[in-house]
Amino acid sequence: MTLAVILKQVPDVVEELAIAPSGTDLDRDSVSYVVNEFDEHALEEALLLREATGEDVVVVGVDTTGELDQALYTALAKGAQRAVKLVGDFEGSWLSTRALAGLLAPVIRELSPRLVLTGVQAPDDLDGQLAPTLGALLDWPHTGVVVGTELADGVVRVRKELWGGIMLDLELATPAVLGIQAARATPRYVPVGRVRQAMRESTIEEVEVETPVESAPKLSRLRAPEAAGRAEMLTGSPSDVAERILEILRARGLY
């Protein structure tokens, strides 16, 4: 049996992001990509499950960036057994979560995994829709905000984090789709030598897919955040400070 992990690349925000002249996209030439942080946790959780049960881990991704290989090889170097890359004509568009799920669902069904693990959310999927959408398309049980898993006969026991630190333990029939919030351990370090070894010795399976017809809302404008968070320390006697506060409020038309 296998555990499928979905990996997605997102722009690296350590690098400065710029908006393309079109105004509806990032300047892709200056963007570099990293694996969505939560997906890293999904992979780590899958690897931990593998260590406990001996399942094979298959990483799956849609290559929207042209650079997915790096992420897949890294996953192989960390201990995944197979890597599947979905390729198609996606250049110049961000796939919506719904479109992504649509592409992934048939491929995953084919893999017939015991579990599908993905990050609970991503910078372009802040409401964490990937796991539920996939679950719906596959008609498998699903849940999100998972912080721990354990496989048993025909079920997976998961621990979810609720508000205020309250934990919820659930049992889902497998196959199931899980949105991982945090793996039980920090995602492991993979030495560069191992990644290079994987690049030499393993192959990435490719699956050609049709570009989905989007029914998602159309993007009209992308904007950089306004410079914010300017703080000013007010000093002096209490009456000076009060005076200054009034001035500020007045300047902003609040008083």
Binding site: V14, E15, E16, Y189, P191, V192
Partner: protein
Amino acid sequence: MLTTPERIAFLLLALASLLLTLRGVRLIVRAIGRGYGRPSWGVFLRRVIPVSLDILLQRPIFRTRPLVSLLHAGVFFAFVFYGLVNVLDLLEGFNGYSTLHASGVASAYNLVADLLSVAALLGMLGLLLRRFGLRPFRFNRAVFLLPSVRFGISRDSAIVGGFILLHVGSRWAGQAVRIAESGRPDWSQPTASLLAALLGGLDAATLAVASHVTWWLALGLILAFLPYFPYSKHIHLFMAPLNLILREEKPLGRLEPPVGNGQVGAARLEELRWYQILDAYACIMCNRCQDVCPAHGTGRALSPAALEINKRYYLNRNLNSFAGGTASPPLLETATSRAAVWSCTTCGACVRICPVGNRPMLDLIDLRRHLVFAGDEIDPNLQTALESLSRYGNSFGKSARQRARWAKDLPFPVKDARKEPVEYLWFVGDFASFDPRMQENTKTVAQLFHQAGLDFGILYEDEWNSGNDVRRVGEEGLFELLVEHNLAALGKARFRAIVTTDPHSYNALRNEYSALGLDVPVYHYTELLAELLERGQLQPSKRLQAVATYHDPCYLGRYNRITAAPRRVIRALGLELREMPRHGENTYCCGAGGGQIWMDSGGQERPSEQRIREAIALGEDVRYFVVACPKDMAMYSDAVKTTGYEHRLTVIDVARLVAWATGLIELEREAAPVSQS
């Protein structure tokens, strides 16, 4: 003269003893041969004479502990001479040849033998007294020791010491007996004659028996001891010179790449190189390496001595099976612990001090290589640093584009060496580029270069971490990645020489990169500053009247012997330099090297704090703790605060002092020295 049965017995015993010894030696050779690689005979031929001379002069031993070294020298010279003495004594036993009451050369021989016997006895007594009385063997509680080691070290020392005492003592007493038998003192053997005077009262029969007994105790004892010899630390007698002679003349700052064939680093004894196994046999268990180890000195689990001693005792106990080719248990179960492996700062002090040429540090790096490659859990901070290094080329998690941001604040542009040729390519280094506390220094260095009219440029975002510490953390693949990147970037630039601010980068570029294809001179900025001052390109307008001490960075002072240049700068500014006890090549580590700067040291007193105390002990009037390494600046600025000496001692980069003297910058009030224009 021996009786015939005695002679036969001696010959038979000698044969048995030699066969047993030979067996042991052969096993040892085979054990060492299980390591990777083979010694080079070219190296042997080239080094055998100069190194033997060094050994005869006892140079490697006198690096530290003068008194103990003197005792050792006494024992050593006696031992060398005793080779001859034993042969002559053998002759005496078998055909009655004797130098007693002889004259000429033989009397000179007698005199030397007589005096050396006493020297050896006293030397040995002194060494034993020290080991068992004054300074018994101690390790930090956290240090991993094989159970056999705890008791074994004392036992081995006692046996070897006892053997030497009994062997030399019996020979000496034997001479006295023979002098007593002759009835008159032999003036060429004064001390034995003195003893003979005490024996004067004994009758002839007793003396005859005593003569036989002492002969057997002196020479027969060797036969009894020989088979034990390969298992004792006495074997350093052969292994230490061999180790010293066969050591390739490579800089300490150039590590060997992993052995290849899929194996990265070493998990087991047989995965080490041959000389790392030889180290265990050369080790004399003196603990000198432990004394200078900053990790052990701050209570951590690492003792380089314990590592070698454990290896040795493991081998002693399992020599048969190990030499026979059986896989040995992991080194982490027999030689050292994870905690120890990760506390090494790769300061190289153990390597420098070891009198027998051991390099325990290399084992630790090989173990790290293994652990990292095998996916063993590593310190989370280290992991973050490595991930950042492989992604952005720096350990700060910052975009490479921000590397040269500091240069924007300068009143002049810094040349881009990728776009125009420069004389000096300045390899700035991570800390100097990214650490906000260090950027001021970096700007100062740039201003000084500018002021001196130096033609220099930088690589901007194409400079990546040199990988010096990455390699020493054991992440060999990442090291290769960084080297590839930097070599490509350097290939795009045109320059005559490289100058670095960071001693770690300096070491990598000079020693590691040169082995991988880089062929240009590399300078440390202190070398350049010294020259610019001496050539008058930098002109101090003020003299600094203060007392300063200077901390040699391990990778500058010890690894690359750049100790004069920074001192030339300090003196050129008019400062009075007062040295800490540990300076130059014997400097003490700041605790940041070998990747420690990225790891959590675990809350004990840090080496940097001990170092500040060392400086404080130099006297009230020491104002400056001068550093020449961005990491030192970070470590010691912290340490001077945590030790509470912030107001007494100012930690300052040598470049800042120069810049102050040339009028480039002002120093904060409390940092400014008393000056005269």
